[in-house]
């Protein structure tokens, strides 16, 4: 699709004035970048033949009136904004937006009424506010929490740079920005922003501002801290730092190791973190946490270790002291037992019964005794026992209670599992002591943290082994990052290639995906763009032609210069270089261009799925789908 559009899509379609390198050089913000821009002039700012405007609009100056919306939270965007004049307000929506995904086509009883509806309106990210389907690692936005007060607005002033997160990480916009009065902004593509971050004199400013803003926005966006006042939030922000893979605290992508003292609490801002334990037989992976998740609750929650059961004899308290049950407790007259009965009790066997601990549960087993063992008055062969149960061995009555918790909390309890960054991460690290003191001040915060921590436990630590191995496979295929990809059910696919033909029909004769790829059960994960949450392909595009415009799909604009960087960086080989027929374009057109699946953005739904006669092609969020699917 050869379309040259505005740099960012505005709902009201405001035009702007295209800026040249000279224009930019006049701004303080861009000081020191002139040389860098010079290199990029030919590509970033080259005018089209015969037209006054530059062909590639890498930077544009816009004006907004009071009340105009610059962008909505949840929109996709690939640009950053520099506020030149005026003020704007940034607000965070109540719930974190989940990424909209295209699901399976409905049961096709849609009759031929929908004829010739070739080009319907494109999918937009903003309306999918209610779509809550989340993939692996995305913990829902703590929906059980009631929002105490509407989140505060943040004032943006001239000289502030905002929207950087989306520009760099390609996540949907975090906040809604509205002009508070007449504003003038410079909207720039990533290639322009990178120039400033790398080489400009403003780079340090931009980077540190980014870090500061990132921490604060993340704290606000996470529902955990809604109950804090502004002042408390600020204190918390000051006690936090932004960790990336390059940070000193993160060595070899390890955030913390198992057994280390738990001295911090973490929020995942982008990327994926793996929680695991190393056992003798291998690595036991508990789960993967993605953007929006929190982890490191050890210092806030009671110890995960199950307090042991305590055995008390009711009938003969003097004969048997209280005993904390260990892995194995044997009852009998033999001297090797842990609970030894007097030798004169002939009714009790040498080894009468035993209590074993297995997987955190305790089990009472009768060892073929003559006079049997009673649990709560009933004869049993083997049964699970818990606090409150009573065991009777002939004339002896025992009771089980929970050992009391250690009263003094450890200064820093050990980490239950190790946390490791799987890819490029940005993590907000909050000092545990500050958080604890805040929690004492604000009981609501403690409540929230406890509740969320328990939810997290349930979600992560109590996953079954089947679920865990599934997660591992998904990670092995890098599917945890993917938001929407084409899966083919191999039990239905007759290998007729209709999907490929439809794709090429819809894209001018070049198919955008390959009907081959790794397999997951009976599903084939095709080599079609997976709409990753943090797309590697977009990093470093010299002309900013690969981007997300306003919705999930990745587009490569026609000003791609064929440098192959995106193709090389895609971990799955989903971007292909294709020869572009020589069209009229000035100054030596590139002969190769990158192509990628664009989710059939100009159509009402993807053509591959539409054209499969055997109902074998589906477009889903792979990790969510495959976790729940019957893999045959």
């Amino acid at each position: 699709m050869v379309r040259q559009e505005l740099v960012a899509r505005h709902p009201d379609g405001l035009p702007g004035k295209w800026l040249t390198p000279e224009d930019l050089a006049e701004l303080d913000f861009f000081k020191g970048t002139k040389r860098a821009f010079k290199i990029k002039t030919a590509t970033n700012f080259a005018p089209t033949a015969g037209k006054p405007e530059p062909g590639i609009k890498a930077a544009v100056r816009r004006e907004y009136q009071k009340g105009d919306v610059l962008f909505h939270a949840g929109d996709y965007g690939s640009t950053a904004f520099l506020l030149l004049e005026g003020t704007a307000l940034a607000t965070i929506p109540e719930r974190a937006q989940a990424v909209p995904v295209a699901g399976r086509t409905p049961r096709s009883l849609d009759f031929l009424g929908r004829m010739f509806g070739r080009r319907a309106r494109p999918t937009s990210g903003g309306d999918a506010a209610a779509a809550g389907r989340l993939g692996i690692g995305e913990v829902s936005a703590y929906a059980s929490l009631a929002c105490e007060a509407p989140p505060p607005e943040q004032l943006l002033r001239p000289g502030d740079v905002f929207g950087v997160d989306s520009c760099i990480n390609f996540y949907p916009r975090e906040a809604t920005v509205v002009a508070a009065e007449r504003c003038v902004v410079v909207e720039m593509l990533r290639s322009v922003l990178d120039t400033v971050r790398d080489a400009g004199s403003a780079s340090e400013q931009v980077n540190s501002r980014y870090r500061t803003a990132a921490i604060r926005w993340q704290l606000r966006q996470s529902g955990l801290f809604r109950s804090l006042s502004e002042e408390q939030l600020e204190r918390l922000a000051l006690a936090s730092e932004l960790l990336t893979n390059d940070s000193e605290a993160v060595r070899d992508d390890a955030i913390y190791g198992e057994g280390q003292p738990a001295d911090a609490f973490f929020l995942v801002r982008s990327g994926t973190v793996k929680l695991s334990q190393v056992k003798a037989g291998g690595e036991l992976i508990f789960g993967y946490l993605g953007r929006g998740s929190a982890f490191g609750f050890e210092n806030l929650l009671p110890s995960r270790e199950t307090p042991p059961l305590r055995l008390r004899c009711l009938s003969h308290p003097t004969l048997f002291p209280e005993l904390d049950l260990g892995a194995r407790t044997t009852f009998g007259r033999a001297a090797s037992c842990e609970v030894i009965f007097p030798r004169g009790e002939t009714g009790i066997g040498r080894k009468h019964c035993k209590i074993e601990e297995r997987d955190g549960e305790f089990y009472l087993t009768d060892l073929e005794s003559v006079n049997s063992t009673l649990l709560n008055g009933e004869r049993i062969q083997q049964a699970a026992i818990t606090a409150g149960d009573r065991i009777t061995v002939v004339d002896y009555l025992f009771e089980l209670t929970r050992a009391p918790r250690p009263t003094a909390a450890a200064a820093a309890p050990p980490r239950f599992a190790s946390a490791r960054a799987l890819d490029n991460v940005e993590i907000v690290r909050i000092d545990a002591a500050s958080l604890a003191s805040l929690a004492q001040e604000n009981p609501r915060l403690l409540e929230v943290l406890t509740e969320v921590g328990q939810q997290l436990e349930a979600a992560i630590y109590q996953r079954t082994s089947a679920q865990r191995s599934l997660d591992s496979e998904l990670v092995g295929l890098n599917l945890y990052n993917s938001q929407n990809t084409l899966l083919i059910d191999l039990d239905r696919c007759t290998r007729c290639d209709e999907c490929v033909k439809a794709c090429s029909d819809a894209h001018g004769g070049v198919a955008r995906f390959t009907r081959d790829g790794p397999r997951f059960g009976r599903y084939l994960v095709t080599m079609a763009c997976r709409s990753c949450t943090d797309p590697k392909c977009m990093i470093g595009c010299p002309v900013g032609s690969i981007r997300r415009r306003g919705s999930l799909e990745i587009q490569i604009e026609d000003w791609c210069i064929g440098c192959e960087r995106c193709a090389n960086q895609c971990p799955f080989g989903n971007i292909n270089m294709v020869e572009r027929p020589a069209l009229a374009a000035a100054a030596g057109p590139p002969s190769m261009q990158a192509t990628v699946c664009d989710l059939c953005a100009g159509y009402d739904r993807p053509n591959c799925v539409y054209a499969c006669p055997h109902d074998a092609a589906i477009r889903v969020n792979p990790s969510a789908f495959l976790s729940a699917a019957d893999l045959g």
Partner: protein
């Protein structure tokens, strides 16, 4: 298409329509003095309905030419093709009054039967062949790329063996392919599609004679066999026993390469089963349509 519960509404509709048609046919047969005839009004009605079902079913081929037009999804069309095609059978039978008629109508009936049966045959195949292919060919690739991939496997095998025993003049095609690949890769060094190839060894180790021999006598001919069939590859057990630690790993890779080649042969065979029935079904349906057109016009004319 896999027949599953998605088809229930279509199956129900088909059963209902067939029952209604059968009931009306029985009544018609009872009532007409001289027995059913294609030219009577009910006979013509059956004929029109049956033919229109056939035509709609046949439009599937045309639909596939304009895949991206929103005329109803491919799944809808496939289900329509299937069920309307089946529904046409009773209607055409009723239209004919279960009589074969003259030469033209006899030919039509024969063609119709063959087309329908071949379609059902293909449908039956589609119920289990895809699963079979998935199970038997884990190393499946694209049908149109099998030649390329198979040649790639030959080149891989040569690369492995040459890295032990040195260059082999007999393997000229493989050498040419590797050389061409190297040229392309040199032209675009930054491109990610670089495959790092091992260079041929300078000298052959003394114990690698059997490897060279097996490669030249069995492995290479096997990998280069055309047409690709599914016979098992060469037996590497002897070689594995006498292989030295140096190059045993490469023999294991050779085993995998031969296994992949065998699987490609299996894929070809299963693919043929899955698709070649179409060469009967579709062309004969065109013949059927041409002759049906003649029949419709001329039977009505007379």
């Amino acid at each position: 298409m896999l027949i599953n519960s998605d088809h229930t509404p279509w199956l129900a509709a088909t059963v209902i329509v067939t029952s209604a048609a059968t009931a009306s046919y029985i009544y018609y047969v009872e009532v007409t003095p001289y027995g059913p005839s294609g030219g009577s009004w009910p006979g013509i009605a059956y004929g029109i309905i049956g033919t229109s079902f056939m035509v709609i079913a046949g439009l599937l081929a045309a639909r596939k030419k304009v895949r991206t037009w929103r005329l109803g999804s491919a799944q809808l069309w496939m289900k329509m093709h299937l069920w309307l095609g089946l529904l046409a059978v009773p209607f055409i039978l009723f239209h004919s009054g279960f009589r074969l008629g003259g030469p033209l109508t006899l030919t039509l009936m024969v063609l119709f039967t063959v087309v329908t049966l071949s379609g059902i045959f293909g449908l039956v195949l589609q119920q289990f062949l895809p699963t079979m292919m998935t199970a038997r060919v884990p190393l499946e690739t694209l049908r149109s790329q099998i030649d390329h991939v198979a040649a790639g496997l030959s080149a891989d095998a040569y690369e492995l063996v040459a890295s032990v025993v040195g260059p082999l003049a007999e393997a000229s095609e493989e050498q040419a392919r590797l050389a061409a690949e190297e040229e392309v890769q040199k032209a675009r060094p930054a491109n990610w599609k670089q495959i790092a190839r091992q260079r041929p060894a300078a000298t052959q180790p003394p114990d690698a004679g059997p490897l060279r021999e097996l490669y030249l006598t069995e492995v290479r001919p096997y990998l280069n066999r055309r047409p690709l069939d599914s016979r098992p590859g060469p037996d590497f057990r002897q070689l594995m026993i006498i292989a030295s630690d140096e190059w045993r790993g490469k023999v294991e890779k050779l085993v995998r390469i031969c296994e992949e080649s065998r699987q490609l042969g299996v894929q070809l065979r299963l693919h043929a089963w899955l698709h070649h029935w179409l060469f009967v079904h579709a062309p004969l349906s065109f013949t059927l349509f041409v002759l049906t057109a003649f029949h419709v016009v001329l039977a009505l004319r007379y």
